[in-house]
Symmetry: C3
Subunit: 202 residues, 3 copies
């Protein structure tokens, strides 16, 4: 179980650090601003997850998490240099963003279940963990977060949190449910991007 | 006492979910964005309250709170359809907003007192609980929160938190003080709207 | 040790309350908005620090902290009246801002060490405590926080957090390390402002 948490947490940290660094470069921030935005995107969701579950953020208790996020920022900086501008809505951002969303949503569902939250609490925590870091980054840049105008951004995390809760409820081991949840969220998000899925408008 | 907390908490959740959904519809968000904004407005203040008081948010521990907020979002969606656009500063938004402000400020005062906060701590928690959800929603929409430019928005919550602390200090039961605090905040806010009350400018 | 924490905490509260009030006056907020922004700037960093370290915010547990912040807001209001507009990037804002950054970063490093965080956790907490209040104020005003576009704003706090951790690691008493950390951050920030230091851009 620790294995599944650690793996998904590390994958989410790297993926979101890359996304945040690319977003920062796209917004013409200088190197430090790119680093700050990368770190905020990477660490934001996990900090929110742990504070809401009533524990000191794992990122502050370990040395590994910040290191892993810094590696992701470095990858993002190299990618940004290689690609030049025009990164928004580019696959190089959307793909790691989907990876981060899926990995972090799965850790949120796992931590929520461990903390004895209600089913709805597990879904809310999975969703907030998945979308939290990116939303913080968008707010810092003065943008309306993607979660408000891309309907199939939070939806996969909501469904993934529900699926995790159902799976553990019928006896699936937590580690397997975590990996399954991440795969499910990732697939849903990719399909939404590929086929331009939308919910009905009011 | 649980009765007063539960009642004010539920009223605040529904009222702010309606407000958030109407704000989202007014900002031309699609159905999912409207739902997200409604949930953020409804859940934001209570999550802030519980995290600051050092406890796992009640909304994550129960199934009822998310359900109640979803009902509020549904009411908001129906209202938005019925009313069309032009919702900002409309009575249909201001009235439930005053209800939510009053109900949540009262829960903040109660939770702060239970957590053994100082008098000023009780006032700060009442205020943050009352204005938190709406401020999060405004920030997500890229707007300057009402609390910064409408002076008699936070003021009723500040005064209500102080009144709650005074009342419990002279022996009023917590449940009665909670209801009294909510009624006081609601009346002040309505009077401020009706008579266009303002604090002096610098 | 409590002495060093109390002193740095109080200095940070007053300094950031002044900064927030001046920022609010510069943004043409009315008196109440100025007060709210001053309080948000003053209390934001410390609340973030304590919540992340897993404790109820000291500002909510004491009466002194809110009082001290209110004094700072009062000073800021008097200063704003005396100076008129055109306050952004003025020394009267930058100087107390450097004081607040230094004092709060030091409290963040101390609280992080007390909470048994990892070295990186101490650095992250020092940084978030130092830049948190000002960033919240900037977001509320709809501005991109200084931390994203002024590279030597967060950097002094990062280096100060690292220096604190090194100092306590080689046996310097926590109280002395706190004062030394604050002096170090303050000096770095002043030098960055005076000599217009910048990190390389991508």
């Amino acid at each position: 179980m620790i294995g599944a948490f650690g793996a998904m947490n590390a994958i989410g940290l790297v993926a979101f650090a890359v996304v945040g660094a690319l977003k920062g470069a796209d917004a013409d921030l200088d190197l430090f601003g790119v680093g700050v935005l990368g770190m905020a995107t990477a660490l934001g969701g996990g900090i929110l997850r742990d504070v809401l579950a009533g524990r000191v953020p794992v990122v502050l208790r370990t040395t590994s998490d910040v290191s892993v996020a810094l590696v992701g920022v470095g990858i993002g900086v190299v990618l940004a240099r290689a690609m030049g501008g025009r990164l928004r809505n580019h696959t190089a951002v959307q793909l790691p963003d989907a990876v981060g969303l899926a990995a972090f949503a799965a850790t949120g569902a796992l931590v929520g279940t461990d903390a004895g939250l209600s089913p709805f609490g597990v879904v809310v925590l999975a969703t907030l963990t998945g979308v939290g870091g990116g939303s913080i980054a968008d707010v810092l840049l003065g943008r309306v977060p993607a979660v408000l105008h891309e309907d199939f951004y939070a939806t996969p995390a909501v469904l993934g949190g529900g699926a995790f809760w159902l799976a553990t409820g019928i006896g699936v081991a937590a580690g397997q449910a975590t990996l399954g949840c991440a795969a499910f969220v990732f697939a849903l998000r990719l399909l939404a991007l590929r086929y331009d899925w939308h919910l009905p408008t009011i």
